[in-house]
Amino acid sequence: MSTEYDTTETLDVKGQSCPMPVVKTKQAIDDLAVGDVLEVLATDSGSMSDIEGWAAGTEGVDLLEQVEEGDLYVHYVEKTA
């Protein structure tokens, strides 16, 4: 697993499907401070496209990386504003 990010918090949405990975990521980001990095662990394959689209359409977040590890989809989101 990638460890190059200083992850502030990990959100586990394994086993949950659309729209939960995106919506819970949004809620978790709201609780973080600017500069913090959220790691999201998901098993929903749709989360790859959905979290990418959400990050692109949302101000104040930056999608650093998305990693696919077998059945696990890991997303790194930074709060930038």
Binding site: Q16, S17, C18, P19, V22, V23, T25, Q27, E59
Partner: protein, 194 residues
């Protein structure tokens, strides 16, 4: 008026002072309206009119509403007719799937019309939803309200169905009608009838 202002040089030829003043005022007005357009664009808005209360049709409005709220969009879902049952605390837990009229059902329509088949189809769907990790209707309602979605219950339908005002989830907006819905639709970037 000062003669060293470069704009007055034009005044000598084609425009008189009054025309020039009118033009400047017009430029100021246009600049102001452009500035307004810039700020209004920042807020995306969506209005969904939710009219169906069957188990399967309760999902799309709530999934879209909660996701749009995650994008920081301002979201209104106006629930009318059978869509109102989604906001009814008791009824929302007992929404049924219709086995009739859906050619994707594993049973023929003639059989699907037999009493008890709707309940069976609903149980099958509920099981799939649980196994798939799909959220329940109640979870999606709580989530939507948490994220600031305005879930509105059509007042006319409340009276038509003879529902009590306190039968709905806490946070649901009551006392609204078609004019309110239209007003939100007119201001929205996305309008959907589900």
């Amino acid at each position: 008026m000062s003669t060293d202002n470069p704009s007055t040089a034009i005044d000598d030829g084609e425009f008189d002072a009054a025309e020039l003043r009118a033009l400047r005022e017009r430029v100021d007005e246009l600049e102001e309206s452009i500035a307004d357009v810039g700020t209004e664009d920042d807020d995306q808005k969506m209005t969904i009119i939710s009219t169906k209360g069957s188990f399967d049709m309760a999902y799309p409005p709530l999934i879209l509403a909660s996701t749009a709220a995650a994008f920081d969009w301002e979201v209104v879902v106006f629930h009318t007719f059978w869509g109102l049952d989604i906001l009814h605390e008791e009824k929302s837990k007992n929404l049924k799937l219709s086995a009739v009229g859906n050619p994707n059902m594993p049973v023929p329509n003639a059989l699907a019309a037999v009493p008890g088949m709707d309940a069976m189809a609903t149980r099958m769907m509920q099981k799939r939803i649980d196994e798939n990790g799909t959220a329940t209707i109640e979870e999606l309602i709580d989530l939507s309200l948490d994220l600031g979605v305005d879930l509105q219950a059509c007042q006319m339908t409340i009276e038509l169905m003879d529902y009590e005002d306190d039968a709905f989830y806490e946070g649901v907006t009551t006392g609204v009608g078609a004019a309110t819905a239209l007003q939100h639709m007119a201001e929205s970037d996305v309008q959907l009838l589900i």
